[in-house]
């Protein structure tokens, strides 16, 4: 039972990258954690600490330097991109520069892991795409050109793409960056709905710490001394771990307001 509930498991994973044939840069060591069904996780940590690297490792884009990542008990090293794509959907910070793609074209790529490699788009794909737009409340955007959308609207479309990919886990890299405050709240609300109504597990990285802490169930915290903490929001706050990781002179995390404040 326990195993079935676990979507993702990291067993002593080292993250980082190989610069050249000799130099290996290790960002984090021995990360152990798991993602359960219906869990909403915020991955927090200062800039450059290796949040993106951890995401790349979890999604199999970069192999772990040590340890293994398991998706539903399967080692990610032995999974094809297509197999991974039916388990994990991604929303990245990468800019989409093409000017003639419609929002619908973008969301349709979320259906590509299914159906034949060469095959045509089916009626079911189209239905799923329309439903995906409904889920994120962006039905009016379906025929708009993606590049003409605002950052908030783009984020919704990319979220719809992740939804139609029909994966148990959605990972979003800084989904609220570059978006105005109402837009941020809207995105967080959507993510919460995906967890509660659609039974998805969601991992986000973000610098909007207070908003994240108010909405997520679990926090993963990365620090520069290669420390990794995982816990429920109250436990992470109570143990003062956020101040330990974000160690900046004259700035401190306030447990009551959930904000960083100058002291």
């Amino acid at each position: 039972m326990e195993l079935e509930n676990t979507l993702l498991e990291l067993s002593g994973v080292d993250t980082g990258y190989t610069n050249s044939s000799t130099e290996i840069k290790v960002l984090q060591r021995n990360i152990r954690c798991e993602v359960k069904k219906g869990e909403f996780i915020a991955l927090l940590g200062p800039n450059g600490v290796g949040k993106s690297s951890l995401i790349k490792t979890i999604t199999g884009m970069v192999p772990s330097l040590a340890g293994n990542v398991f998706i539903k008990g399967k080692n990610i090293r032995h999974m094809s991109n297509r197999e991974i794509a039916s388990e994990i959907a991604l929303v990245l910070t990468d800019k989409i520069s093409d000017t003639y793609l419609t929002a619908k074209d973008v969301v349709l790529t979320g259906r590509y892991p299914y159906g034949s490699f060469l095959g045509k788009i089916t009626k079911m794909d189209i239905d799923k795409v329309i439903k995906g737009f409904d889920v994120v409340g962006a039905h009016n955007l379906i025929d708009r050109y993606f590049h003409s959308l605002s950052d908030g609207e783009k984020q919704k479309v990319l979220l719809a793409r992740a939804v139609v990919q029909d994966t148990p886990l959605i990972i979003l890299d800084e989904p609220t960056a570059f978006i105005d405050s109402p837009g941020k709240i809207q995105i967080m609300k959507l993510l919460k709905e995906l967890v509660s109504k659609h039974n998805k597990s969601v991992i986000i990285t973000t610098h909007d710490t207070d908003m994240a802490l108010k909405n997520v169930s679990t926090v993963w915290l990365l620090g520069f001394n290669k420390e990794f903490y995982s816990g429920s929001v109250p436990s992470i706050i109570d143990e003062g771990l956020i101040n330990r990781v974000f160690d900046v002179d004259g700035v401190s995390f306030n447990k009551n307001s959930l904000r960083f404040e100058s002291i």
């Binding site: 991974i84 991604l90 990468d94 989409i96 520069s97 000017t99 074209d105 790529t109 590509y112």
Partner: protein, 344 residues
């Protein structure tokens, strides 16, 4: 929307066919439509003189022009999508120059290799030249892959491609210095670019191979669309980007080699046509883009070839002068538009 697209495809198919016929009708020798039709469709023609001109000269030229236009445009589209670079194209990235280098090495060393431009009777001659062009094009493509993997900026990659083009031209120039005047003469003529140096069987070979590769490309609509979102999104859609890149590089290398080997380097068609197709149909979706690029590539090339013949005059313009006059402003337009959109 669907009807509008279908009608557009129909109209442009008719226009392309008309351009094809005009290419056969017009040239330095004045022929009538009756002569054209008789030569093409009635074997026992009354005008042997016209028949020779049409069947042995203008027909292969029109077929070659059409096929090379298709191939270079499709190659341009594949390169633009694969590299995520709107400024990618066979000529601007120095890939055609690479193909030229391959041909130059083969032809200018003619004394050693035994291959010369005039040896049209030998299948090996044609095959050798295509293979040399392919290897040359592939070599430059590998350099471009290496560079664009490290530099994200489209304009910077373009500048490096242009520099590679200069470097390769310098090597070709040096080779010319050491070669016999006979080889040199034929190579320089080839280097000017022309659709008129193929016979019927060569032109049909180019056409059939180009159509085969076009057909193969139709099997990659989904991965090509996914690549438009960037490499990481393509991976997250379940594709193996490295394998796809290799396939598309091979396809475009082959298409560029096929064109360049028989016609010399042709400028700008490969870069310009995909942009014209995208702007006209207002889509980057490869379901529409691939057939549009093939059709527009054929039409654009035939139009340029027709203009270069200067109907009514005794002289003709170099094909590259015509393609550049139309193509270069399109590149400038893409860069300016890209600056505004902050993709440059």
């Amino acid at each position: 929307m669907l009807a509008y697209r279908n009608i557009s495809f129909l109209i442009f198919s008719v226009v392309t066919f008309m351009l094809f016929m005009l290419n056969i009708r017009y040239g330095s020798v004045d022929l009538s439509w009756t002569e054209v039709m008789n030569s093409l469709f009635i074997s026992d023609s009354y005008s042997v003189h016209g028949e020779v001109i049409i069947l042995q000269y203008r027909l292969p030229q029109a077929i070659t022009s059409m096929a090379v236009g298709m191939g270079l445009s499709l190659a341009g589209m594949l390169l633009q999508t694969t590299f995520g670079n709107p400024l990618a194209g066979p000529s601007v990235l120095g890939i055609s120059a690479g193909a030229s280098l391959g041909v130059a090495l083969l032809v200018l060393m003619g004394g050693i290799t035994g291959v010369s431009m005039g040896s049209n009777s030998l299948f090996f001659g044609d095959f050798g030249i295509v293979a040399a062009a392919f290897i040359g094009a592939l070599a430059v493509l590998l350099v471009i892959i290496f560079v664009s993997g490290r530099i994200g900026n489209a304009v910077t990659v373009l500048i490096i491609g242009i520099m590679i083009g200069y470097l390769v031209s310098a090597v070709v120039g040096t080779l010319q210095f050491f070669s016999s005047s006979e080889d040199l003469h034929s190579f320089i003529l080839w280097g000017l670019g022309s659709f008129s140096n193929t016979n019927v069987s060569q032109s049909l070979t180019i056409l059939i191979l180009t159509l085969l590769i076009s057909l193969a490309t139709l099997f990659f609509i989904k991965p090509l669309n996914a690549l438009l979102l960037g490499h990481r999104y393509a991976v997250s859609s379940g594709f193996n980007v490295k394998i796809l890149q290799t396939i598309f590089i091979l396809f475009s290398g082959l298409l560029i080699a096929l064109g360049t080997a028989f016609t010399g380097p042709i400028a700008f068609i490969g870069l310009a046509v995909p942009h014209i197709a995208r702007s006209y149909f207002r889509t980057s979706n490869h379901t529409i883009l691939i057939p549009a690029v093939i059709l527009f590539g054929a039409g654009f090339s035939l139009l340029c070839n027709l203009i270069s013949k200067l109907p009514g005059y005794d002289v003709s313009l170099p094909i590259n002068a015509v393609t550049s006059i139309i193509g270069a402003p399109i590149v400038i337009w893409v860069i300016i538009k890209g600056r505004r959109l902050d993709i440059g």
